[in-house]
Symmetry: C4
């Protein structure tokens, strides 16, 4: 894993991370204690602590972990998010990934649930949507976003993500869905990850709004 030196000190990172959580909570994208955000900071990763309402996040609700098993560094007093292994899988596979956001954005989650995984990895294909440009250098005419099964054992989701990226990291869009669970987006920093999250959520909303007419804009495969 090649670390990305982002050049901000960890306390600033914790502050940005907490602010992004509060923002996404206010939108209703992190209900209950769901949702988690991480930032790669030098050789380490800062991630949301486990079991917090994201509406009241402060820097103290984050924890710095080592990037292999996600164990808290010496001096850290919080326990990291139960989904830390998925974040680490992304950092491991994607050297340029500097931040990861996982949220329960409603329309993305609904599109993932409708698509399903059919025992393997499902795929939501967004066709000819302008906002696909917001996902980076991929071809905006046809974006295939993977849908992963929501195994109870989170490390198994992480393994699926690792296997998927092993084969397709270069072409993969910087977002993935988890069935009946939510959406994960990443980028060089939190702002870029959040921009991409917004794009996939809005494309999903458009899919559902138009599908309500019986004439879907996106094709859901694997079902």
């Amino acid at each position: 894993m090649k670390p990305v030196y982002i050049g901000e000190d960890a306390e600033l990172q914790r502050g940005h991370l907490a602010a992004a959580c509060r923002d996404l909570y206010r939108r209703g994208w992190m209900p209950g204690t769901s949702g988690n955000i991480s930032v790669r900071s030098g050789e380490t990763v800062v991630i949301t602590a486990s079991g917090r309402s994201k509406g009241a996040m402060s820097r103290k609700d984050t924890v710095m972990v080592e990037p292999f098993e996600g164990l808290p560094l010496l001096g850290e007093t919080e326990w990291p998010s139960a989904e830390t292994s998925i974040h680490l899988a992304l950092y491991q596979q994607l050297p340029n990934c500097g931040a990861v956001i996982h949220a329960h954005a409603p329309h993305s989650t609904a599109v993932a649930a409708l698509t399903g995984t059919n025992g393997s990895i499902g795929q939501v294909v967004f066709e000819n949507m302008e906002l696909a440009k917001g996902l980076g250098s991929v071809d905006p005419h046809l974006v295939a976003v993977p849908v992963f099964a929501n195994w109870s054992d989170v490390s198994r989701i992480a393994s699926d993500v690792t296997a998927y990226l092993d084969g397709s990291a270069a072409d993969a869009p910087p977002v993935l869905l988890i069935d009946r669970h939510g959406v994960t987006a990443w980028g060089h920093n939190i702002d870029e990850a959040r921009n991409r999250l917004e794009c996939v959520e809005e494309m999903s909303r458009l899919t559902l709004l138009t599908g309500a007419f019986g004439a879907g804009v996106a094709k859901e495969t694997a079902r």
Copy 2:
């Protein structure tokens, strides 16, 4: 009824309660003068006063009542919520319950209305939803949330709740629905109750969003 000594003074509790009301109102979950919140405070219960818009709640819009019939304590000048008896039924049956929130969250209310009660107690079953983990120690693969009939006589709803919990309190999820009326959630404190409310509302939204495709994620029984 075993009281829970929460360790905060009553004025603080009133302040928290009012702030939670204003927050839920802003989301549109307490329209008109609907919605009510209570907190167990030592041997007593603090609850929203009757007939207030929750968007302008202050500590003065709460009332401290005794926990058996919900009568205001000496010195209280407000009248408690018309639905106080449901709150008291929960505190009576659930020794660890420290706070109760009743709200008209739209998707929960719609799912309750669609399920109905068929003359008895209906049931909304959420299957394999990640957010079910937010409801505590219940099995997240299958959560059955009860739907109660909305009797004009509120004390009859309270009796139904008491009877239901008599048989199932240990396994019951910390939320219940009332037909064409709303959702009630509880926990050790207001924050936990609100987290759970958010989870059931979001699972209900997911149910409706996916059901609009004709392929519902949740099964509604009792209809």
Copy 3:
């Protein structure tokens, strides 16, 4: 017309009115320059000026008019809302009406459009909804909200409202709908009118959310 002496000075009223506009605009219920609010102030009526975005309302964007034809009083520099005649019709017929809000709340407007008027006055019947209690003393088990045709000549809508209230003012719920146009609610003051507006909007939302399943909770008649 028996005036209601509300006991606040007109400047305060203007301030409340402007604040209520800004609040409803933020919810998306007064898009463009739509929506209008009035308050009866002694022998006069204060109403929103014509053609203002409600997101930037101040006291200066209101105008005091006489209650018979809605002409601005001496010294007023703004022109009153084009829908002033509907407000005046309500004050004329309802001696206890102290404030009127007209908004384009989306679900109410959709329910009105779906119901239509069939050349006469349509009716949306809300059955067994808890929030019907928020409409005052009417029977909450069955609330019939009228739907008026949206004549280009606003004074014709006002006449229809007058004729409707002539026959039913005592039993009429404090809300009415206008086809493809919006919802009007009233009460002793702005807060009560807004509470009622919220209730009819939420009952309409519930109707639409449940109707999407093909099993409507409300019956739409007159179509």
Copy 4:
């Protein structure tokens, strides 16, 4: 092109533009880095810089361009929006146009996607909607909003807009849709453009809300 001298200095314009972006972002109408706003300022145009999240816009995220090819003026350090050519086409054709807003408002975008363009220019017809009055002097009984194809080459969209306005500028409503891309509205200033944007978005929402019942209020043609 006849310039409109708006009479505010360019720095004020930049500030208004940035504030309008932040406002529309908060509504969810400018997800990712989408959306752009411009203002005609004397002989020049001020427009959003390329690739910015609109939630954090400041005056520095705008750029002043000449009105023929959209090249930044001397001293400008940012690159203009990739969709500048569409803005310039509108200013060129419409001497009274002082501001243009392009947004990904969800319901407008969905209605555009459902209508499509059928290889040419599609049309969404809004019938008898009160909010059509918010689009200016057009007949509110029947408003036909054009839907343009979303060519990868943005200048081709701009050409289509120019050709459309060549034939119909006098009667055209001050809004247009782009398939699976969004809505563009204009007016004498940003506030008027935003008011009109709100109206077309709300009419689109009403169309979708009522269409969910299988009884659409608007007719979508060209499909």
